[in-house]
């Protein structure tokens, strides 16, 4: 029994607070549908995927919390890959991230989501038109900083990459399983802070593997460059395929 309205349970009533006498005796007619709620997004995602394949691009959907170092990692990658990499930036407001990536040597296009908490495949499709892809082999889509909403939206990428940074805590993987079971690569960032923080890297990696046995983990610091060579090698491999 619900304390708010005295209804039986959310699943039985839909928690819909009626302001009129609603007798549940109507003859309802049921129509089968069987369609994914994400169907329209997935259609755009498939279009993006076909476009990426045609241009022989390797595309990563990068997802993490705000402040975990997504843009700092991208700056390091931009210095390594230069004009072979382009970035699509999703931010609620400002073009600060795109400016940083451009200054580090790669092309970037900003999508200001104006409040939306995630990127969808449709907006990514439009963003592609703004990038000169002549020399580009690798596209990284920096999603809005958020561990929840972006995980549901397929953008047509080849793989999802998550960043988990040491100050966030080592318990986040199972708290946000919808993201971590979908990621192919996990970056544990800010490793330079490990002397100061209680973060059990083995635990975070093991929990991520429990959701997704094939996940590849990289322990890195965007600030000091530690571990970045392994990430460069991984990405060089991917774009070479």
């Amino acid at each position: 029994m619900c304390d708010t309205c005295g209804c039986l349970s959310p699943s039985e009533t839909g928690h819909h607070h009626h302001h009129h006498d609603h007798k549940h005796t109507h003859e309802h007619k049921q129509i089968a549908i069987g369609e994914s709620v994400m169907a329209r997004n997935d259609e755009y995602a498939e279009k993006n995927r076909a476009h990426f394949a045609e241009k022989r691009l390797f595309v990563i959907n990068l997802i993490s919390s705000p402040g975990s170092g997504k843009t700092a990692v991208l700056e390091v990658l931009a210095r390594h890959f230069g004009s072979r990499m382009a970035v699509i930036e999703g931010d609620i407001q400002t073009s600060r991230d795109a400016d940083r990536v451009t200054a580090a040597g790669s092309a970037a296009h900003q999508i200001e989501t104006q409040g939306a908490c995630h990127l969808d495949a449709h907006s990514v499709g439009h963003a592609l038109a703004h990038l000169d892809l002549e020399t580009v082999k690798l596209i990284i889509i920096e999603n809005v900083g958020n561990l929840v909403c972006p995980s549901t939206y397929d953008l047509g990428e080849n793989e999802k990459m998550a960043i988990l940074s040491l100050p966030e805590g080592d318990d986040k993987v199972l708290k946000y399983p919808a993201l971590f079971h979908r990621v192919k690569t996990l970056l544990i960032n800010k490793m330079d802070l490990s002397p100061y923080l209680q973060f059990d890297v083995d635990r975070a990696e093991a929990e991520c593997r429990s959701l997704n046995p094939e996940v590849q983990s990289f322990r890195v610091s965007a600030t000091t460059g530690v571990g970045m060579d392994a990430l460069f090698a991984y990405l060089e491999d991917r774009i070479g395929e």
Binding site: S11, Q30, T152, N212, P213
Partner: protein, 110 residues
Amino acid sequence: MHELSLATEIIELARPHIPKGEMLKVVGLIVGPLAGVCEESLRFCFAELVRLEGFPEAMLQIESAPARFQCLDCGHEYETVTVEQFCPACSSMARTMLSGTEFSINFIEV
């Protein structure tokens, strides 16, 4: 937080299935624990939207689908609603997910 977008999507997908002159009464969803959907928030957004869209009686009927895993150590297949539950046969964390991300409209009622 993205539940408003999802509720909008649900209504847009249901709309063409509503026969002319009928009112949408129920949308039946199937939601897995790894779909990344907060049911309470989805119900809240849906209730507001259907009021604005002229289907004030419409409500969601959500069927929770369990996640299914297979243990990589002993091969046992198990269902769970919480991802913190590891293999009930051998307690191993090593597993592969068989299902759990379902998020679909099963039916509507008019």
